[in-house]
Symmetry: C2
Subunit: 385 residues, 2 copies
C-alpha cells in the first residue's frame, strides 16, 4: 500500500518536474497552455517547473517560428525536451569482439563501432580494445565524454549488482573481475553491467523481435549458451543473477557438451572455437552428411534447452539469437518439439537485431537508468536489484 507523505515540497516539485518532462517528451514542441492541459497542473506551477528544467538544460525554448502568423503580439513560446542534453553508451564485451553504440536521451542511435578480439585475450587487452572503440566512436560522433549520462555493458557471466563478474568462464580473467569499477575509471557517469543474454532480451523487447510481448525468453545460442527472460516486461535476473545460465542444460542426463555434439570427428571441438563451428555449419549447408548430422544433434539439444526454459517459465515468446539465428531450419523443429513437450507452447521467432542485440540492450539499460532519474519519482523501471 502506498503511503501518502503529504507536505513534502521537494517531492512534489520532483513529481511535477517528472510530469512536465514526460509530457514534453511525448510532444514535439508544446506551449505552456498545452503543458497545462496535458498535465493538469496549474499555469504558475508549469511556468516554474519549465524554468527549472530550462536551467537544468533539459528543456529548450523553440526558435522563433518565422513563418507563423503573429495573431496578437508575440507568439506563444514553445518548449521541447533536449534529447541532446546527454548521451548514452551501450557496450558489448564478448569472447570474440568488443562493440559500442551511442545514443541521445531519446535513445536514437548516433553511431556504432566494434573490433575483433582474440578469445584468449587478457582482461586488460580486452578493456583496452574497448576503450579504443569508445574513443573512436565519440570522436566520429563529435560527442564529448563529459556529455555521457550513463553507460550500459553486456558481457557473459553472472554479474553482481555492483558490476563485478561473479562467474564468467567464457572469457579469460573474467571471474572475479570488478568490471563495473574498472569501467567507472573511464567514465564519470554511472556504469551498469549486465549479463549479455539479459541485455539482448531487453534489446529485442525494445526494438527487435519481441516488441509486442512482455513475457519473453531470449536464447543466446553459442558454445557457451545463455538465456535472458523478461517477465511482465521486467528483466528476471534470479536471486543470484544466474537465471538463464543454461550452459549446463546440455549436460543434464546426457553429459554432452556443444563441442562434442558439433564435432564431426571423435574429438570434441576446441572450447570457444567458433571458427570451427562456422565451418561445420558451412559444410552442412554444402551437403556434408557428417556435418549435417552434427548440426542436427546441436539443434536437437537446443530444442531441449528451449523446452526446459519454456516449461519452467511459460513465456509468450521465445526469441532465438546468437548462432542459431543463422541456422537454416531451426524454427520448424523448435516449434514442432515445443508443441510436443509444452502444455502451452510459446511462439518462436528469430532475433531481429542479430549481432547488435547486446549493445542495443546495454544502451536501453543505460537509458532506463537515466529515465529513472529524470522521470520516476520512486521505484525502478527495470527492476534492478
Amino acid at each position: 500500500m502506498g503511503r501518502l507523505t503529504g507536505g513534502d515540497p521537494s517531492l512534489l516539485r520532483r513529481i511535477n518536474s517528472a510530469v512536465v518532462l514526460h509530457a514534453l517528451r511525448g510532444a514535439d514542441f508544446a506551449t505552456l497552455t498545452e503543458i497545462t492541459r496535458i498535465t493538469g497542473l496549474s499555469r504558475p506551477t508549469v511556468e516554474g517547473v519549465v524554468e527549472g528544467l530550462i536551467d537544468a538544460g533539459l528543456v529548450v525554448d523553440s526558435p522563433a517560428e518565422e513563418g507563423t502568423a503573429r495573431r496578437q503580439g508575440r507568439p506563444a513560446r514553445r518548449f521541447r525536451f533536449r534529447a541532446e542534453a546527454g548521451y548514452l553508451l551501450g557496450l558489448e564485451i564478448g569472447p570474440h569482439r568488443v562493440a559500442a553504440a551511442l545514443s541521445d536521451l531519446d535513445g536514437r542511435v548516433q553511431g556504432t563501432g566494434q573490433r575483433e578480439v582474440d578469445e584468449t585475450a587478457s582482461a586488460d587487452e580486452r578493456l583496452d580494445r574497448l576503450r579504443g572503440v569508445v574513443a573512436d566512436l565519440l570522436r566520429r560522433a563529435g560527442i564529448s565524454r563529459d556529455a555521457l549520462r550513463a553507460v550500459g555493458v553486456g558481457t557473459p557471466g553472472i554479474v553482481e549488482a555492483d558490476g563485478t563478474v561473479r562467474l564468467g568462464t567464457a572469457l579469460p580473467d573474467w571471474t572475479g573481475l570488478a568490471l563495473g569499477e574498472r569501467l567507472r575509471r573511464s567514465f564519470k557517469c554511472p556504469v551498469l553491467v549486465e549479463n549479455d543474454a539479459n541485455a539482448a532480451a531487453v534489446a529485442e523487447h525494445w526494438k527487435g523481435a519481441a516488441t509486442e510481448s512482455d513475457d519473453v525468453v531470449f536464447v543466446l545460442a553459442g558454445l557457451s549458451p545463455g538465456a535472458g527472460a523478461l517477465i511482465g516486461g521486467r528483466l528476471h535476473r534470479g536471486y543470484g543473477g544466474a537465471a538463464g545460465e543454461i550452459g549446463a542444460l546440455h549436460l543434464l542426463g546426457r553429459e554432452v557438451t556443444p563441442e562434442s555434439l558439433l564435432s564431426t570427428t571423435d574429438e570434441p571441438l576446441h572450447p570457444l572455437d567458433e571458427q570451427a563451428v562456422t565451418e561445420v555449419f558451412a559444410h552442412a549447408r554444402e551437403g556434408d552428411e557428417r556435418a549435417q548430422a552434427a548440426v542436427e544433434r546441436y539443434i536437437q539439444r537446443l530444442v531441449h534447452d528451449v523446452a526446459a526454459l519454456s516449461l519452467a517459465l511459460d513465456p509468450e515468446l521465445v526469441v532465438i539469437g546468437g548462432w542459431a539465428a543463422g541456422l537454416d531450419g531451426v524454427l520448424e523443429p523448435l516449434r514442432r518439439e515445443l508443441a510436443r513437450y509444452c502444455l502451452r507452447p510459446p511462439r518462436v521467432a528469430l532475433s531481429r537485431l542479430g549481432e547488435a542485440a547486446i549493445t542495443i540492450g546495454a544502451l536501453r539499460l543505460a537509458l532506463d537508468h537515466v529515465e529513472e532519474e529524470l522521470f520516476a519519482v520512486e521505484g525502478s523501471v527495470t527492476g534492478r536489484r
Copy 2:
C-alpha cells in the same frame, strides 16, 4: 510513475480506512490515541473511520476492562480488528483426495477435513465429495456458509484466471472444466482457482519451509510432477498459467516417464497408481535391490528436473514436496548435483507442510484476495493476472 489524482474524497476515505485497519490488525487492542499516533491521522479522522469500520462489522469495541484502574472518569475505549467478521476456505482437489481448511480473517486455521477419492472418479463425483467435506467442516466449526468471504482452490493443471481448467490430464474430465464457475454455485463469495503446485509454493512461503525466502521454487514430486515459483515473493504463473508444468522435463532427451523409471519389471507402472509407487518405495527401504535401483533412477531424474528449473529461474531456495519429501536421502544427491550443474546452486529443503500444503496455500490465496479488498487501495498483493 504514480499519478496523483488529488481531491478524491472517497479514495482518501478508503486509504484512511485501510491505514487504520492495518494498524488495528497489528495491535491487540488500541485506543483512539494510539491509533492516531501509529497512523499519523488526525483524531477526528480516526474517530470517523473507526465508527465506519464498526458499522461494517470489521472493528469492535473492547469489553469494559474490569480490573483497570479508572484514573479520570471513564476509561479510554479500546478497539480491535474482528478476525471473526469473516471466514475463508482453502480447498484441494487432487487425484486421490479432496481436502479443506477453514480460517478466520487473520488466517488462523479453525478446522480441516479430507476424504479419499478414486483417481478414476468423474468430475461430478469429485466435486460432490468435496462439497461433503466442506459441509462437514463448516458444521463442525459452527460457521455459517454466509460468513465465508473467499474460497481458494488448488488443483492440478493449467488454470485460467476465471478458474477454468485449460488443461488437466491428471484428473478425469478436468480439461475444459469450468471449475471456478461450478464452485461459485456453492458459495456466494469469490472463488479463486490455482494450480496445486503454485498453491503449495505460496503455502510454504507463508508458514512452511520457505518463510525466509522470496525467491522459491516448490517441486510437487509425483507421477504427474509440477512446480510453483515465487519471484520476489509473488507467484510466477507464466504467460499462459503453465509455468512450472514440468511433467515433460522427464521426457526431454530421454523419453522416459516416471512410470517406467519406477518400475521394477519390464512394464511401466500404471499411470497415477501411487499405491504401486508406495510399494516400490517400501521395498527399497526393506533392501530390495531392484526397488532401490528404481528409486535411484527416479531421484536422479528428479535431480535433473530441479536442476533445469534452477538454471532457468535461479531461486534462492528449492522446496521439495509431494512424494519425494518422504523419500530417504533425496536431499543429499540433490545438493550434490545442483552444486555440479548450477553456477549458483540454490539451497534445498524438504516441505514442512507436507499434505497440508495445497489447502494452506489455497487458504492464503483466499486471504490475499480479502486483504486486497480490505487493506489495499490499488494494485494487487499477489500479482494475480
